[in-house]
């Protein structure tokens, strides 16, 4: 699998002064989650929609797994790509099960396979199949609707997922839990995901890499850590608030900075290796000797972190 490749992609509307997307080139590695981040009108949604050809580029090419998407038949292309939008767009006259089953039936899967796929996906998004299969969208909360939207996008087991500000219309509390679910799903399923948002926190939380767009052009494409420590220009620095050290800590995990455990006779507070450094800092500030031990998922100590280290990082 070769992921998604953007090669000098541009989109110019007829009566517009400047291009909506201007010579954007970058590669999305397979299995990674790339966030398209930028202010309103920067072209991130336009760029996203060129991948499933809801818009066609004026210039440039987009490759999906090495194939020029313009060489594929449009509906066939779209059936291979999961698409989640902000307003969800669940079909109100179909049950949850029918909504999710739509793509598999378009792909002509056999009934039993579709059935079990629907149940599998409902379980994956933490909705009990027996209870939710036959419900209608109007009977679901906003958060539940969007989770069904996600399940519907994953139904055909696509390699690629396009998400256009999927949590923009959802309340903050539900949004946080949905973000966690997306991270979990991504750990499990390892899809190639393009995720559009204007929410910097969301971007830093979810992304393996972030493509920052401004007025149609790609300004910087890098990991969250690199963006925070080496912003390409003033615009990026201000956008992600790169100077905020505490923000930098949130994108690092304990395992990224821990050192070998020295023998400490004291009993140290423990953190999991996947915990982000902001939480580690919080713990350190309440630890008597300003050192904590880092453990793996089984509880075995694999390293330690001291406050000194964080100051020097």
């Amino acid at each position: 699998m070769q992921g998604i490749v953007f090669d000098k992609v541009s989109k110019q509307y007829k009566n517009a002064a400047a291009p909506a997307v201007n010579q954007v080139s970058f590669t999305v590695d397979p299995g990674s989650l790339v966030v398209l981040l930028g202010p309103s009108g920067c072209g991130k949604t336009t760029l996203l929609k060129m991948v499933n050809r809801l818009f066609e580029p004026s210039e440039g090419t987009i490759y999906l797994d090495g194939v020029n998407i313009r060489d594929m038949e449009v509906t066939a292309l779209r059936r291979q790509i999961g698409y989640v939008i902000q307003q969800v767009g669940l079909f109100p006259h179909m049950t949850v099960a029918e909504n999710i089953a739509l793509i598999p039936s378009l792909l002509k899967w056999e009934k039993p396979r579709i059935q079990s796929r629907v149940d599998e996906l409902l379980t994956l998004i933490h909705l009990d199949p027996l209870e939710y299969r036959d419900r209608y969208p109007a009977q679901l909360s906003g958060g539940q609707q969007q989770r069904v939207g996600l399940a519907r996008a994953l139904a055909g087991d696509p390699n690629v997922l396009l998400m256009d500000e999927p949590f923009g219309a959802i309340d903050a509390i539900t949004r946080a839990s949905l973000q966690q679910e997306v991270m979990q799903l991504q750990n499990q399923l390892q899809k190639t995901v393009l995720f559009v948002t204007h929410d910097v926190e969301e971007a830093l939380l979810l992304a393996d890499k972030i493509a920052i767009l401004k007025e149609g052009a790609l300004v910087q494409y890098d990991t969250p850590w690199n963006l925070l420590t080496n912003p390409a220009d003033e615009f990026v620095r201000e956008l992600i608030n790169a100077d905020d050290r505490i923000r930098q800590l949130t994108v690092l995990k304990a395992k990224d900075v821990m050192i070998k455990p020295s023998h400490h006779e004291q009993v140290l507070k423990k953190v999991q290796q996947r915990t982000d450094l902001r939480q580690v800092l919080s713990l350190l500030l309440s630890s008597p000797n300003a050192v904590v031990a880092v453990t793996d998922s089984s509880g075995k100590v694999v390293g330690e972190i001291s406050l000194q280290q964080l100051v020097l990082e």
Partner: protein, 217 residues
Amino acid sequence: MFTNLINTFVLAWQYTLSHADEFILALREHLFLVTISMIVGILVCVPLGIWTARSKRIATAALNTVNTLRVIPSLAILFLLIPYLGLSSTSALIALIVLALPPILINTDAAFRGISPAILEAARGMGMKPQQILFQIEFPLAAPVILTGIRIAAVEVIASATLAAFVGSGGLGIYITRGFALYDYSILFVGAVPVALLTLFSEGIISGAQKLIQYPQ
């Protein structure tokens, strides 16, 4: 007053029985006029309504024409067309079709316009072909409003088919013209009551159909 009513009913019933064959013929003619004009109206206006919902140019032209028609009483439209088309069942039929067009067109147009763009975008993005979207998504969602338009048109057509008798066509209206000519209320009833029952019946059937396709909102 009420004895008057009951008397008229009884007389009307007797009249019907004594003119049974003529009555059945009139009823059949009436139903014929109604069914044909409704079918043609639906076959013309549903596709047209889909077209107007998608194309601004066509929409303004078609909807303006239809809205002007609505202000003119059906009686007037009927009477206007007949002299040019001649006194026959065919001309009555054409007039009825013209009367059926506005509600069906306006409602089909509104129904298709009213479908949330997010739903259509999701359907396109998922890789559904245009005909699949039309038949599996748009039509089911538009159906309730289209059925309302058909309901309104049906009532309009059944009523106007009655008036068609004034222009020499058949149908239950013959009893109304006759009743006015002979100044006999009971004959008027022979025409009026079945027509009223027909409209109630068609309302009932179409409302029932709407309830069947309802989904939780």
